[in-house]
């Protein structure tokens, strides 16, 4: 155990820090006018309102627990936000647990798909859509693996995984067996579709958490109370990589790709072209161990470079209990940065991309630590909540030890989520306390998805809470800036434009984003890219660099619309 970590531990209950107890125990961009604009806006309040009750969503998460404290109970689950029926609004897919040994359930809990009817009303269409998987849900991602224009769902479960093919008529078909992506019987985590070999179809990266079976279950206790055992007591597992063969089947290439050479306790993942070399790499947030950054040589062969790039450990060289990860260009320097969530007593970490294949831990210098220290942090997102032209950070919080208050009153099982507002000068301010009633909800959150649920040009949020109802947050920020949403349509490249880089240039502002499948904490959202533009009502230029394709340029685009850009240069807009 390292010294920073030991020191943090000593600070508290065991010890010598208590009076009388014997010591024996123990970034700034030269932004000109924008800076002025952003700084001025920094004083205005973001308002996120809790509208859960009015949505008609009755889903309630279960972790399948029976009091035996199986470790996977603590890590369920992620969620997905995507437009499954292509009606123009974002629908919600919640993962659910399933009864584990010793637990009884009259009706088997299922995952749930809610169709967005508009006006903040959602209808449960799970059964008719055929996506009510009853296995133990942990991670989910979405991508159009067969390039038919309809987004498909992949479930990373405890037990066999599931690939639901979207039939395009509101229903899905389980094609797991046919496609060969069941992944045996493992403890799942994050997953993402990515075109690793730039051949125009989506491959699939599946993160595996650790080796668990009822026989391998480890019991543990703290202060005389039974607790969930540390994941370090379970063997780590290599991740799985499937190559899309383009004929409706996949081949397991974990070994030949180099991915299986590395074992970790994988959780949230994101695929991203971090080094801007035109291929997708993969960041795997690992629990209680170094994070992995798999660098792609452009053909789908990966080298693990986490340590060399500086993202394996935090500033002090300590491995964290990493949970979720998102990437985004927070300082608008044209490079994608990472934000990684973690365990109590550790700061969630901002890794700033320095541009030469190296990252620095900028958590302390930017204020991106927020109030994360006493919390366990999970879902996360770089997202411009106030449309001021820079990305803020949302963090879902909640302890995994349901009885933690009994032996440590410095933290709680149910915790408020955190919102860090980007002040535009490369710094963040924790505005959680004054950002509306939605940020006052105290539950034990896990996955979080952020997207524009009501198509009003700002980003709303959906949070999955362990053993509880979800939280739906409507963005009611009063004075928003202009915005632009971009949806990509690949022709030669993959249909959703996953992995494409989109640069939006509006006056002095240049924004970069990338289309992802799978991000945050074992979930998926944001395939429709959202750019806050502040006071700028027109975009001078949009550059789209298609993964494995060319670059299209779209000039003079009006703000405040959702625009669909098709590979080859055509565009359609909707206000």
């Amino acid at each position: 155990m390292s010294i920073f970590r030991k020191a943090i531990e000593v600070v508290v209950p065991a010890g010598d820090r208590y009076p009388g107890i014997d010591s024996r125990r123990r970034i700034a961009v030269a932004w000109g006018l924008l800076c002025f604009f952003s700084c001025a806006r920094a004083n205005e309040h973001i308002v996120l309102s809790d509208v859960t009750e009015e949505t008609g969503i009755t889903f309630r998460h279960t972790d399948g627990s029976s009091g035996r404290l199986y470790i996977l109970e603590t890590v369920s689950a992620g969620l997905a936000l995507f437009d499954f029926d292509r009606d123009g609004d974002i629908d919600i897919y919640f993962l659910n647990g399933a009864p584990l040994r010793g637990a009884k359930s009259k009706v088997a809990p299922t995952n749930a798909l809610y169709r967005n009817e508009g006006d903040w009303r959602f209808t449960d269409v799970t059964e008719e859509a055929g996506v009510g998987d009853t296995r133990y849900g942990l991670g989910v991602t979405v991508g159009d693996y067969d390039n038919d224009g309809h987004p498909d769902i992949y479930l990373n479960n405890y037990g066999p995984n599931v690939l639901y093919r979207n039939n395009g008529d509101g229903t899905f078909a389980d094609v797991t067996e046919k496609t060969g992506v069941g992944n045996g019987f493992q403890v799942g985590a994050g997953a993402c579709f990515l075109d690793m070999d730039k051949d125009g179809d989506l491959d699939l990266y599946v993160s595996n958490y650790l080796e668990f079976s009822y026989e391998k279950h480890v019991s543990s206790a703290t202060g005389g109370y039974s607790v969930y055992a540390s994941p370090i007591l379970y063997p780590a597992a290599p991740d799985t990589l499937y190559r899309n063969d383009g004929d409706g089947t996949f081949t397991d290439v974990s070994k030949t790709s180099g991915v299986a050479e590395h074992v970790g306790r994988g959780m949230g993942i994101v695929s991203v072209d971090y080094d801007n070399d035109g291929d997708v790499d993969v960041f795997t947030a690992n629990d209680v161990g170094m994070n992995f950054l798999f660098e792609n040589d452009g053909t789908g062969r990966f080298e693990e470079v986490g340590l060399f790039t500086g993202v394996a450990y935090d500033l002090h060289g300590d491995a964290q209990g990493s949970m979720g990860v998102d990437c985004g260009d927070y300082d608008n320097d044209g490079l994608l940065d990472f934000y990684v969530t973690s365990y109590q007593g550790q700061l969630a970490t901002l890794y700033r991309n320095l541009g030469d294949g190296v990252f620095e831990d900028a958590t302390l210098t930017t204020g991106a630590r927020g109030g994360t220290l006493p919390s366990v942090t999970w879902g996360t997102s770089f997202v411009d909540v106030d449309n001021d032209g820079d990305r803020d950070i949302f963090i879902a919080c909640g302890h995994l030890l349901d009885n933690v208050e009994l032996y440590d009153d410095t933290t709680t099982y149910r915790q408020r989520n955190i919102l860090l507002m980007n002040t535009g000068d490369g710094k963040f301010v924790d505005v959680s306390e004054k950002s509306g009633d939605g940020m006052k909800v105290k539950l034990s959150s896990r996955g979080a998805g952020l997207d524009d649920l009501d198509n009003d040009g700002d980003i709303d949020a959906v949070i999955l809470n362990s053993r509880s109802e979800p939280t739906i947050l409507r963005n009611d920020t009063p004075s928003k800036g202009h915005w632009l949403q971009v949806r990509l349509r690949g022709v030669k490249t993959n249909r959703n434009g996953i992995g494409a880089h989109v640069k939006v240039i509006a006056g002095d502002l240049t924004l970069l984003d990338e289309v992802h499948s799978g991000r945050g904490y074992q979930g998926h959202y944001g395939m429709r890219l959202h750019f806050g533009l502040g006071g700028r009502d027109r975009v001078d230029r949009i550059e789209v660099r298609w993964l494995g394709g060319g670059t299209d340029i779209f000039d003079d685009v009006a703000a405040d619309q959702l625009i669909t850009l098709t590979e080859g240069g055509s565009r359609t807009g909707r206000r």
């Binding site: 155990m1 010294i3 020191a7 600070v11 508290v12 208590y18 703290t222 005389g224 500086g310």
Partner: protein, 373 residues
Amino acid sequence: MGNVQGRHGNTTEAVRFWKKGLELNPKRADVYSGMGWLAMRKGECEEAILHWRKVLEIAPRMPGVHNGIARALTVLGRKEEAIEELEKDIQISPQSSLSYFLLGQEYLQQKKYEKAKRNYEMAISLQPDLPNAYYGLFTVCSRLKQRAKAREYMAIFKKLDAEDVTKEKKLLEGRSEASDDLVSMRENVAETYMYAERIYRALGQAQRTEELLKRAATLAPKNTECLMKLASFYRINERLPEALQMYKELTEIEPENGVHYRNIGILCTRLKRFADAEEAFGRVIALTPESSSGYRSLAQLYLDMDRELPKARELAERAVVLEASAANYFVLGWACDENGDRDSAISAVKRALELDPGNPKYRQVYEHIQKSN
């Protein structure tokens, strides 16, 4: 009570008791220090700093306080102030590898790589197995494009980090095997008994004090502090065989600790178990040959027993060579006297008296042997 509450995770209650304690005695720097660390854990850095500033008002050179303030300032992004505090900490605790490491971290974030490097190197010189400092050096060398050096430091970091992970895993595995955390829980309860014992001891309630210490010892049989307290309790109350038993148990837990053997020797002498005392003092000399106490004690034993007198003088002379203390000179004087060397005896006792002029025993003996000369 605050400490007991804190130990059991009830920090709100702990703070309540500590504040009450401060009302009674506002000069308890250690209480403010503990409140600082607690605030830090909650992420309340400003509050932590306030508590630690209070500590410095009371005890300006208390070790680790500037380090704590620096850590809080670092989290708050107040880098320059943090550096100042770390430098102050190093003045007070020049051996603080943590403060050198944290200074390295501050300079790394400021991109002052050479300064960062120097501080990491200093941390390593003080603590060669500090993985974090090697990680710092790896990072600095990577930024300076010193790739070979970076790889070298990375290799050491990886090795040390792997060792730490193995240790942590073993620790956790041990816990889960031994009826989960029963052992550590018992140790915690034992600590609570020991806090309670202090209260009863201060009230002069010997029976209750003994009872609580015995309970603590039963729950945590390897808690050396508890056994030492029990031994001390028995000695004060002239229950020498029970005290002897405690020291014997202590030697089983800490077989390399000469102090326990010395205490055994002293007790055996008082119990007139001279052979056992001789063996115990012999162990003290074997374990701590550069310390004078074993030689002096054994010399004194021989003198008490009126045997091995030439050896007693040799031992006393060795004790004086190792440490020219009043006690050692006094025993040397005695040994010289017993060996018929009156002049040397007078000279040695005179030296003892010069070193400890207020000691009536030395004066009395000095005057006596001068008279009888």
